[in-house]
């Protein structure tokens, strides 16, 4: 059996749900172990074993969260050399990208990013051209590194009883020089973008930052809904990056996605075209977003939004 090591990011004691998806898929293809590094890792190990990790390598050492990538890369190199993994699988989270990239250089291992399916443990399917096409890429050598996009697989528990193996944290001084010295992070309120059944999303067509308030009101009226955005408005500083949907942001698969003043650029579409239904409001009848909307409305988002909020409130009674 081929052997896989799944790297699971842990933040505030919570395992990256995408890592559980990857674990679920890779354990169908081979023997899958998992590794979690930094504060919260032992708690994470409990979750990882429920999702089928045969063994969980873990360390609570703060060096892994305080320092950028390098101590984790050293630890992973040690695990690969000791246990001979064929595949090391990551998600596309920021820390995962840092670590996976360095590990590729350190081990001379080929790497495939933006993977959306794993037909086998040496073929990775990735989206290219902003998601309009897929390529199946055969990877050679061992280990092979893959970075899998969130929502590519469904996570399923299987009630394993993996042993937890403590990983040594012994990075030398020259690997702990890049340090996180401040954190300015705040978990958003309301349902998470990637979990919300309805996402109301806005683009540059909303005109100015203040108009995002209309989306917040619509989401409030709907109840179980989150607000999303395009990169154009994130770059403009209207909304925080956490709301960005698309190639460089979050991938979502809600029941309904509502797009207001969004053109429908491929890099945006790749993050939301998994929605069950899509509604788009755009002033320009030629906007590409209409090519994939189940209901398209040619009109002014700023006129329609206040009326829609009223309609939703009325129907909710």
């Amino acid at each position: 059996m081929a052997r896989v090591l799944v790297y699971a990011e842990v933040a505030d004691g919570t395992v990256d749900p995408a890592a559980l998806e990857v674990l679920t898929r890779t354990r169908e293809l081979g023997d899958a172990d998992a590794v979690a590094l930094g504060p919260g890792a032992t708690g994470a190990a409990d979750v990882l074993r429920r999702y089928g990790a045969a063994r969980v390598f873990a360390s609570e050492d703060a060096v892994f969260s305080d320092c950028v990538a390098q101590p984790a890369v050293l630890a992973l190199e040690g695990l690969v050399r000791e246990h001979g993994f064929d595949v090391v699988a990551f998600t596309t989270g920021y820390d995962s990208r840092d670590i996976a990239g360095r590990l590729s250089g350190r081990l001379g291992a080929t790497l495939m990013s933006n993977v959306v399916a794993l037909p086998s443990l040496d073929v990775a399917r990735a989206a290219v051209f902003g998601g309009s096409r897929f390529v199946d890429v055969k990877l050679e050598g061992a280990p092979r590194i893959v970075l899998v996009r969130p929502k590519s697989f469904e996570a399923r528990e299987c009630g394993g009883r993996a042993e937890v193996v403590t990983v040594a944290a012994d990075a030398p001084g020259d690997l702990v020089t890049a340090r996180r010295v401040e954190r300015h992070e705040e978990a958003a309120s309301g349902p998470k973008l990637e979990d919300a059944p309805v996402v109301v999303s806005g683009g540059r067509g909303l005109g100015e930052a203040a108009n995002f308030e209309l989306l917040e009101q619509l989401a409030d009226a709907l109840g179980d809904a989150a607000v999303g955005a395009t990169r154009a408005v994130v770059d403009a500083g209207w909304v925080p990056y956490s709301k960005q949907i698309g190639q460089t942001g979050t991938t979502i698969k809600p029941t309904v996605y509502l797009a207001f003043g969004i053109s429908g650029a491929t890099q945006h579409v790749v993050g939301m075209k998994g929605a069950k239904r899509i509604v788009a409001v755009n002033r320009d009848e030629d906007a590409p977003i209409f090519g994939l909307a189940d209901l398209g409305v040619v009109g002014d988002a700023l006129e329609i939004l206040p009326r829609l909020i009223e309609e939703v409130r009325a129907r909710k009674g």
Partner: protein
């Protein structure tokens, strides 16, 4: 401060991409400097203006990569190195990093800047691989960077805000689109660019073996993604909001 900026030449992102033999066709395609790399060039120029030194552009790509590099020189970079070799068609991210590392190592540097991800390939990991090969620490996803003491202070964009990373030099940084507003090349800049030192290298100049530069991955199949079909499109005559609300009821989210 000697700064190296990695700049990639990409097929014009406004043209539909073409594939041949499982590879993105890069030859003979109208190309441009990856817009994401303009932020890197701008960041380097601002540091040079504040702290002195030199800005060197490094690019691996087809001979046409010259156009991309010219744009960076026109913006104000001092010199450029292009690595071009037929053997590099189909290079994977690891090979790209090896080639760029070999080119960068030829001269002392304090800082390497790259984009967070390229517009055409968007692997998003090449710079980290490069940092590892160069043996320097990294701070990625920078939305702000400044020199502080003998090192760098980088605001790193995260999903829920940002972190501040402190890191000594030499180092590698990747920059997001939020980091600055890239300047347009001036006429003077465009003229001056033609006289700036530009070195063209092949793999043998870099002393890399065929084994080190052989891609360990290849495309075995290209599949078209399932396209969503357009549905009903209506024109708002004042009733669109009610129609959307009906749609939401049908979808059972109200």
């Amino acid at each position: 401060m000697n700064i190296v900026v990695c700049v990639k030449h990409i097929p014009d992102p406004n043209l539909p991409g073409e594939m041949r033999d499982g590879r993105l066709v890069r030859e003979g395609v109208q190309g441009t400097l990856d817009p994401g790399d303009e932020f890197g060039v701008e960041a380097a120029l601002q540091l040079e203006e504040a702290h002195g030194g030199e800005v060197t552009l490094v690019s691996m790509g087809p001979p046409a990569a010259l156009e991309a590099v010219r744009k960076g020189l026109s913006m104000g970079a001092d010199r450029a190195v292009i690595v071009s070799d037929d053997a590099l068609a189909g290079a994977d991210a690891l090979v790209t990093a090896r080639v760029l590392a070999a080119a960068i190592r030829r001269a002392p540097f304090d800082l390497v800047i790259a984009g967070v991800e390229s517009t055409d390939g968007y692997t998003g990991t090449m710079p980290s691989t490069l940092a590892e090969l160069l043996g320097v620490p990294q701070a990625t996803f920078a939305r702000r960077l400044e020199v502080e003491g003998a090192g760098l202070r980088v605001e790193r964009q995260t999903a829920e805000g940002y972190q501040v990373i402190a890191c000594p030099l030499p180092a590698l940084v990747t920059v997001t689109a939020g980091v600055n507003e890239p300047r347009y090349p001036s006429f003077k800049g465009i003229m001056a660019a033609k006289k700036k030192p530009l070195e063209s290298l092949t793999l043998s100049d870099l002393g890399l073996s065929p084994d080190e530069t052989a891609a360990r991955q290849r495309v075995v199949e290209v599949v078209d993604a399932e396209e969503r079909k357009a549905g009903e499109v209506i024109r708002d005559d004042g009733s669109a909001a009610a129609r959307i609300a009906d749609f939401l009821v049908e979808a059972k989210v109200i």
